[in-house]
């Protein structure tokens, strides 16, 4: 049982605000992925939850209990570090048993817990080895075992997969998900890898420059990005964004700019003449004849991904990418016509970068 509530959490290092008023409610059993580019404050946030970095401001609650000023050892949380932080002088077995010995548990209990955990993670043969005699993947498992052995309320993982090669990473990803399913504990997992986030998370929290941009399920974050940052950060290739002006014609809204005349759905008079950013994901764009197309541009580059091709096109001043089965039949320099369904068009406010939602009533900014 571990619900972690973070309220207005802030951490400043001198002039730098590493984490800026972040609030997330992580229900018990959640697999929350903290996602964001390098330096956005993910580790700092995780370390504040662990108790390793004291917050400048804000509160952390664990199952309703304020733990903001409780020392790490009394928080009932276990952490796996990016470097794994295994004790080099201890064997695998003693590394795993370390947290229990530190808590002065009886010998028999320590032995049986270590035995259970090593069996679960398949570390049986490695028990007498030292960390330097292990491969990266094995070290990662030992670090995980050391966290598991305490049976903590929640697991904090700081980029635990980033030191593994691609194959191992995919396998370990699945294993972690499976472990989470079996234990039902709360996981907070830090990564800058969106594939990791999409595949493992029950919910994703996207951070940018210390601020929380959006919290939601992987599909929410992908299908309805709350800000232009989230739109650009999640999805590969990144969502193309072009600035346009809305026009109301016969109750239908059109986004218009140089080379753009795109229907975006029904609207109200007050939405007319509004400046917006229009975003469409690569897989939602379809090729049509250039002369009558709602989006008209020039192909700059075609990338072959094996099963698919991605064409980077210039529409007006903006870059849009199209993706489809190979061959797309495009070459650099071709004029290209694109279209999409109004329901796949994302609209953002150019000033705040926030998503504009089309309710049955007019287009309005999301209340944040």
């Amino acid at each position: 049982m571990s619900r972690i509530q973070i309220e207005g959490l802030t951490r400043r290092f001198g002039q730098v605000t590493a984490v800026d008023h972040v609030g997330i409610d992580i229900p018990d059993g959640d697999f929350l992925v903290l996602l964001g580019p390098s330096g956005c404050g993910k580790s700092t946030l995780l370390r504040m939850i662990a108790g390793l970095t004291p917050p400048s401001d804000g509160r952390i609650l664990l199952d309703g209990r304020d733990i903001t000023h409780i020392p790490p050892r009394d928080r009932d949380l276990a952490m796996v570090f990016q470097s794994y932080a295994l004790y080099p002088h201890l064997t695998v077995a003693r590394n795993i048993g370390f947290p229990l010995r530190a808590r002065r548990r009886p010998r028999t209990e320590i032995d049986s817990r270590v035995e259970t955990v090593t069996r679960v993670l398949g570390l049986g043969e490695l028990l007498t080895r030292r960390p330097r005699e292990l491969s990266g993947g094995q070290r990662q498992r030992v670090a995980l075992a050391r966290a598991l052995v305490r049976d903590p309320g929640a697991f904090l993982l700081d980029e635990p997969l980033s030191n593994l090669d691609a194959t191992l990473r995919t396998a370990t990803r699945a294993e972690l998900t499976e472990l989470h399913r079996r234990l039902g504990s709360t996981f907070v997992h830090v990564t800058h890898d969106q594939v990791e986030a999409m595949t493992m998370a029950t919910r994703i929290a996207v951070l940018n420059r210390g601020r929380l941009e959006q919290v939601g399920t992987p599909s929410e974050v992908y299908d309805a990005p709350a800000t232009t940052f989230v739109a650009g950060f999640i999805g590969s290739p990144a969502m193309g964004l072009l600035s346009a002006r809305l026009d109301l014609v016969d109750g239908g809204l059109y986004a218009r700019a140089e080379g753009v005349d795109l229907p975006v759905g029904p609207g109200d008079p007050e939405d007319g003449a509004r400046q917006v950013l229009v975003g469409v994901r690569a897989e939602h764009l379809a090729l049509v004849a250039p002369s009558t197309a709602p989006l008209r541009g020039v192909v700059r580059l075609v990338e072959n991904l094996g099963s698919e091709e991605v064409a980077h096109c210039l529409v007006g001043e903006a870059r849009l990418t199209v993706r489809g089965p190979r061959p797309l039949g495009l070459a650099a320099g071709d004029s290209v016509g694109l279209t999409t369904d109004p329901e796949h068009v994302h609209l953002f406010d150019p000033g705040s970068g926030r998503r504009l939602v089309r309710t049955p009533t007019p287009v309005t900014a999301v209340q944040s």
Binding site: G51, L52, P72, A85, H89, P99, A102, R146
Partner: protein, 281 residues
């Protein structure tokens, strides 16, 4: 094909010549270093009448100088006293260095930089400056003429603090943090995580401090006015106004060197490791 073979031949000659030259230089240096020690032992084994002989080999071997040394001095007692003193000083300096180095490396506290600078500064203060105040203090404490009096003012060395802080700063912070999360307090972390991983450095530093303390002459001479308290002072018994009694003196000096040499032989690997690492950090 032929040209390339010729090329490799030329290369290999050049490549082997350089190590040969290097080894020759090192060998000369080694001999220069070892010679005084060899001469010390050679002299100690000469018969008393051959003591000024310049023959490189002491022949016939004679134990007479050792016999004289044992007659004049209580070598066993001196050895014991010296060991107690040197071990006491080395352990004391190691412990204070460990605690202070840990605090400087792993903790954040107000005035840390300043305090560290003060520590470094004490290292720069010459011994002669603190000698008289320390002596006066010992006299007031009533520990003059005791081994404790020699050890007490030497319990903390800035060198130990500086070197250990340096080592601990290279120690991964994440390990300390992992120990904190795993439930170890700061004190327990020092002994269960830091110390076991610093063993080579501690061994190297411990030996350095031990050898320093062992070879100390001036301070023990000041505190222990009885000349027969430690080996280094015992050597004085063979210096007379009519000239020095070289044979027994070399025999005693030879015995004084033995523990250090033995220690080095036993812990050679650790010492080298420790110095190599401190060099890399």
């Amino acid at each position: 094909m032929t040209t390339s073979r010729a090329m490799t031949a030329v290369l290999s000659v050049g490549e082997t010549r350089r190590p040969v030259l290097g080894h020759a230089a090192l060998a000369v240096l080694g001999v220069v270093c070892i010679f005084p020690i060899y001469w010390l032992y050679a002299t100690s084994f000469r018969a008393p009448e051959d003591i000024y002989s310049l023959s490189p080999f002491p022949w016939p071997l004679s134990g007479a100088n050792y016999a004289t040394a044992f007659q004049v001095l209580d070598i066993g007692g001196l050895l014991l006293n010296t060991t107690v003193m040197a071990v006491g000083i080395a352990l004391g300096q190691l412990l204070t260095g460990l605690l202070a180095g840990y605090a400087f490396a792993a903790w954040e506290f107000r005035g840390k930089q300043l305090l560290y600078l003060v520590f470094v500064a004490t290292w720069l203060v010459p011994f002669q400056v603190t000698m008289i105040p320390n002596y006066a203090l010992l006299s007031q404490l009533g520990v003059l003429n005791t081994i404790a009096g020699v050890v007490l003012p030497s319990l903390c060395s800035a060198l130990g603090v500086i070197l250990l802080r340096q080592h601990m700063q290279g120690f991964p912070t994440e390990l300390l943090e992992a120990a904190r999360l795993d439930g170890r307090g700061s004190w327990a972390t020092l002994w269960t995580v830091v110390v076991p991983n610093l063993r080579p450095a501690l061994a190297a530093l411990g030996i350095l401090l031990f050898v320093n303390a062992w070879n100390e002459y001036f301070w023990p001479a000041l505190v222990l006015q009885r000349s027969n308290a430690v080996l280094q002072l015992g050597l004085r018994s063979f210096m007379g106004s009519e000239g020095n009694d070289w044979g027994p003196m070399m025999a005693t000096a030879g015995m004084a060197c033995l523990p250090v040499l033995l220690l080095y032989l036993v812990l050679q690997k650790q010492i080298v490791n420790g110095f190599v690492r401190s060099g890399l950090k």
